[in-house]
Each structure stands twice: as C-alpha cells, then as structure tokens.
Amino acid sequence: MKTLSALVLFQTACIIFLLFRFAGDSAAMRLSAGDEPVPVMRVYSGEVAAPAWHESTQVSPPLDEQRLRRIIREELDARSHRGAVDARSPMARNVPDDTHRKVFVDQQIEYFRSVGRISAEEMNDMQREIAKLDPAGRKDAMSRLMRAMNSGEIRGQL
C-alpha cells in the first residue's frame, strides 16, 4: 500500500513538472515573436546573412504576425526560385544572382519608406548593393529610390 501510494505521488509530481515545463516553453515562444524587429536579410548565395541595416538606424517598424508571415513567405519564394534556376541548366549557376539581389534592394527601399528616413551611411550601403545589379536593375532601383525621396517618403541626403 505504501509502495502504491509512493508511486502515485511520484507519477503526479512528474505530470505537474511536465505541465509547467510545456507552459513555460509556450510563453517563451510567444514573447520572443514580439521582442525584436526582424531585420531585412540577404537571401542570395544560399545563406542568410546578418541584418543589412546599420546600427545607426533609430526607428524599427514593429513586428506583427502579418509582417513576419510576409517576410517568411518572401524568403521561401526566393529560395525555391533559386532552386528552380539551378535545376534548369548547369549554365544558370554561373549567372550573377541579380534576382535575389534585386529583391533585397527592393526590400531595403521599402524598409526605408516605412521608416521615412535614411542616413548617409545607410544610403552608401544601399548604393553598394545597387552597384552590383545589372544595368536594368540599377536603373529601376535608382528610379524608385529617387521617386521616393522626391515625394518625401524617404528623407535623407547624399
């Protein structure tokens, strides 16, 4: 009888421990989703590199579920596109990854439009990325950037 009681008590203690453990993990996952803004990340070259914007950025847009889902969807689309390009032809692997770089630059422009400002250093970093696009991509990116600055959507100076 004593043995049985001890076993019951032990079993109950294990159940309670596991309940607290899972509850704690769920709370940590909910908290981490809203702690920090998800940075714009580079997708090309098969790696996700460090955040692209500079530490001097003062304002970060709040991260909500919709924005997080959109970013993840874009990342997955970019990865699947790269896989499709690689599968089509061996020659495709030698073509510069302008598509993904263009996506990255477009994301950068959208980010700065959401923030409303761009510092000289951030502008310099983005120009370095634009320089590596193909001529058509450069023209498009610069045109979008200039239009955003002339309309007042992005404040900053070169």
């Binding site: 510069p96 120009q127 370095r128 634009i130 320089a131 590596k132 450069r138 610069m142 045109s143 950037l145 200039m146 239009r147 600055m149 002339n150 309309s151 007042g152 404040r155 100076q157 070169l158």
Partner: protein, 144 residues
C-alpha cells in the same frame, strides 16, 4: 584737431567699405515641382550655406562603386532643399553630365532639372564673382 581725427576715421571707414564692394547677386534655393514628378531647382551654394534657416541645401556630387564584375559603376546626383523644406534629388549615369557635376567649385551657382523618373536631364554651373560672399560668412545684399 579732435574733429579732424574723427573725420579721418569716418572717411577711411567709407573707403575700406568700397574696397571690398562689388556686384553681388545672391540666389536662394528655389525648387519647382511638376505634377508628373519632374522639376527643376536653382540656387547658389553660398546663399544656401549662410541662409537664415538651417534647411537650405544645393549641390551635386559623384559616386563610383565596384560593381562586383570587374567594372566600376559611376553615377552622379544633384540635390536641393528650399526654405520650405522641399527636398529634391536627381541622378544620372550619363558620362557628360558626370563631368559637369565633377566641375563644381566652392562658390558655384547651380541649376538642374530632372524627368518624371528622377533622372537628371539638365545640369548647369556658374562660377562668377557675384556669387562669392562679400565678407566671410556674410552674403551680399545687392549692387551699391
């Protein structure tokens, strides 16, 4: 004797003023925007720099970046902000316009315009004596 000294001081002061005079023609930054996004801007750098507000700006510059494929991506820009904080900027890759942008000097008058896509389609510089400040930090006020 004392009156004579006072007269001498007054006369010498007037003479020194004439010695640094000359025709000046300040041009504040003026931005003109069209409905389609095109526009134009004019201004001289000295007047912008020493204006009463802290927002007026006008100038041009060039940039050169490694394009990652063995070449160099060169482009240039002109930008201006008027007293109403209207900010405009245009860019170009045209090598002839880049040469003009690179020729900006310290006391230049600048005029530029752009198309609806933000591409510079006209750039002009003028480096003349009447854009040089009358005194260091004090722009002139017109012909005397």
């Amino acid at each position: 004797m004392k009156t004579g000294k006072i007269i001498a001081v007054v006369v010498l002061s007037l003479l020194s003023s004439f010695a640094v005079a000359g025709y000046v023609q300040p041009q504040s930054v003026t931005v003109t925007l069209n409905g389609d996004g095109s526009g134009s801007a004019i201004g001289d750098m000295v007047t912008a720099r020493f204006s009463d507000n802290d927002v007026e700006v006008i100038g041009c510059g060039t940039r050169a970046y490694d394009d990652g494929a063995g070449g160099i991506y060169r482009w240039g820009f002109c930008q201006a902000t008027d007293a109403l904080e209207q900010q405009v900027i245009c860019n170009t890759e045209n090598p002839d316009l880049l040469d003009i942008m690179a020729s900006t000097s310290d006391y230049s008058f600048i005029t530029f315009s752009w198309d609806a896509g933000g591409i510079c389609n006209h750039i002009g510089f003028s480096t003349q004596s009447f854009y040089i400040p009358e005194h260091a930090g004090t722009p002139g006020r017109g012909r005397r």
